[in-house]
Amino acid sequence: MKLLAVGVDHHSSSPAIREAIAFNESKSAAALESLKTLYPNAEFVILSTCNRVEIYIAADEGTMLPTFEEIAQFLSDFHEVPAANLREHLVKYHDERVIHHLFRVAASLESVVLGEGQILGQVKEAYQIADRNRSIGAILHTLMRETIRVGKKVREATGIDQGKLSVASVAVDLARDVFDTFHDKTVLVIGAGKMGDLTLRHLADLKPGRVVVTNRDLSKAETAAARWNGVAAQFDKLYALLIDADVVVSTTASPTPIVTLEHYQRVQRARRNRLTLILDIAVPRDFDERIGDLDQVLLYHVDDLRERTLANLGRRKKAIDAGEKIIEHETATCTALLRHQRTAGTVLRRLGDYADDIRLREVERLITSCPDLTERQREAIDRFALRLQNQFLHHPRSAVRTAAETHSPEHAHSLLTALKHLFRLD
């Protein structure tokens, strides 16, 4: 079994290079078709994301595997990019390193944003495209399935994907910690700046019942509100708006707090002391700090949100070592699994040939020694011998297949060795 991966990623190339050789679904299908024509005995998967474009190739021992130079030339021809410009950015991996690299990619250890969840979906999509275009065989089927499993395992075991890394997405997590449903909630955005818009984009995923945007310049509020199916309101009605708001996002550029403790106490009384989450992402603060001490009010400043993102990033970084350990172990297991699958196929073929030889020889000897047998009797003897052979071999065959497909390389190895010795299959 031979494996090769050739491609570019965010470490080795600029975005311009990656864009130049990127594959969408139709391009992937066309490229896979061409590769299959050029190398009919090899298997191919193309993984193309914003941060990487990689071609994974596999072939059996004794079969021609395209070389790094050939794949580089193919990429250059396919995308009409000068080979000289491309070659210096290309990175290659061989055999076990291919498995290790692909597992790291799927586990998002190679991603720009550590622990991001999108890459696993992109790996699945690459696998599905290759499967649809029939460019993969037994080796890459196994490898891709293992990759998806390992990607999930690393996330589950280390929590590397836990905790958001942007202020806006942390705000969404907070909203989920406070409220259970959002269809009956009102989100009020004070200020129509970029930060408010970004936070609202994330909060919109929660499908709030009502979005209200208020700003000193009403036209800006109207523009921002229109983007999120919300309504614009005049800034002088701020206190009335606060009474209805369950989630408040404040992003004005006011040099002094726009909501004082005394004012908000009145608001909270009018709200009948219902729960409120205030995300004050303005610098300096828009809400008096003491408002956060009120019962049923949760006030988060931008610094609190940033602190959360840093804590989450720190936690993800801590998960790297644990993830690496899992990948090291899984790489060794997967390599053994792939080898045993190939070896098991060969051993089972030889075992079948060995049994066929004996059966045919013995049937021939019996038929020769009994010349009076009719044609029907001879056929019956043939069928009997074949059934006997298949029944004898059924359990050894299924045991070898099961061992080769499970994650127990030692067991598979010992079984295969035993079979080879017992039946002299070498």
């Binding site: 589950e156 075991a157 280390t158 929590g159 836990q162 905790g163 997590d173 907070l174 989920r176 910690d177 406070v178 409220f179 259970d180 449903t181 009384r269 709200r271 009948r272 002391n273 219902r274 729960l275 956060g292 019962d295 049923q296 949760l298 988060y300 609190d304 602190e307 959360r308 804590a311 989450n312 936690r315 998960a319 644990a322």
Partner: protein
């Protein structure tokens, strides 16, 4: 002894489930949560079989003694735990709050086993029916109170985390504040009428029905006083629900007080003399007779579980005969 062993069986399973849930603090995997749910479900099924057997053996719904009532209560609470856990959007730490409560109730039940000495023969069918209804209402009210307490604890924990801006722990997800508050509110709303009806039936029984067989329980009996105090706290809680100033942590604090009264009401007969659970038999013969009956129930339960009917009947008879001699 046999029943004690089997109470230990499902209490132990719940403890194991709790242990698995706790591993989520140290091991970054969701397996602990899955294992915890599976063990809780197993413990609940075993406890269900145990209660079914108890019902068959005693020929009445097991709500007549404190021991039986607490067993049923813990079983209902575990069912609620499983329901809430499996209906949550992601693996939440509900079991971390409910399971310790369930285990604590089972421990009180074990202590209460020896004090549960109802003598049914002195009551007629009508009194028995209303007695069971009284116990049943109070039991359901107690279950709702426990849910209010547990959801209140979850609310406090989540509120504390959010107020002090603590970073979330991986793998340990608490229900949202709104969710915990809603559970708390529902539980209080359900508990109040149940407790009210339960106590009213108890009062009427005390005045009218118990008079038929003996003197009524004094209104100053510690159990009656404690139950009345609990009802009063619930009345305040219901009133508080309509007052904006009493939302959130204050309502939760009142729920804790109500729960404390509930626990006090359960355990008071273990500490102070109370007429509620029947007159305490002091004579040796009566105690022996009661112990024998319990032994028979225990061994019958054992036989029921293992389904070897003929042999087990002989075994039961021989053990009971041995006990008598």
């Amino acid at each position: 002894m046999m029943i004690g062993l089997r109470v230990l069986c499902f209490a132990g399973t719940y403890a194991l489930a709790l242990g698995c849930d706790l591993t989520r603090f140290f091991l970054q995997t969701r397996r602990g949560w899955h294992l915890s749910v599976a063990l809780t479900a197993l413990g609940w099924l075993v406890q269900g079989a145990y209660l079914a057997n108890l019902t068959i053996q005693t020929h009445h719904i097991p709500v007549t003694t404190l021991f039986e009532s607490l067993l049923v209560l813990s079983w209902i609470l575990t069912a609620i735990d499983l329901y809430l856990t499996l209906h949550a959007r992601k693996p939440t730490a509900i079991g971390l709050f409910i399971l310790p409560t369930v285990i604590a109730i089972l421990m009180i039940a074990e202590f209460a086993r020896s004090t549960s000495t109802w003598n049914w023969s002195q009551w007629n069918d009508r009194v028995r029916f209303w007695g069971i209804t009284h116990g049943f209402f109070l039991l359901l009210g107690a279950a709702a109170t426990c849910v209010a307490f547990v959801s209140g604890l979850m609310y406090m924990k989540q509120s504390n985390k959010l107020k002090h801006k603590k970073p979330p722990r991986f793998g340990v997800v608490l229900p949202s504040l709104e969710q915990s508050e809603r559970w708390n509110r529902w539980a209080i709303t359900i508990a109040f009428p149940l407790l009210t009806f339960g106590l009213l039936i108890g009062m009427i029984l005390n005045v009218a029905a118990r008079g038929e067989a003996g003197r009524p329980i004094a209104w100053t009996d510690p159990k009656i006083l404690s139950a009345s105090a609990m009802w009063f706290v619930f009345a305040v809680l219901i009133h508080a629900r309509f007052r904006p100033a009493m939302r959130g942590r204050r309502v939760v604090a009142l729920t804790m007080i109500a729960f404390a009264f509930l626990v006090f009401t359960w355990s008071i007969t273990l500490i102070l003399p109370s007429e509620h659970d029947g007159p305490k038999s002091r004579d040796k013969e009566s105690r022996n007779s009661h112990s024998l009956n319990r032994l028979k129930t225990d061994v019958d339960s054992f036989a029921f579980i293992f389904r070897s009917s003929d042999d087990s009947k002989i075994l039961v008879e021989s053990i009971v005969q041995g006990g008598r001699s």
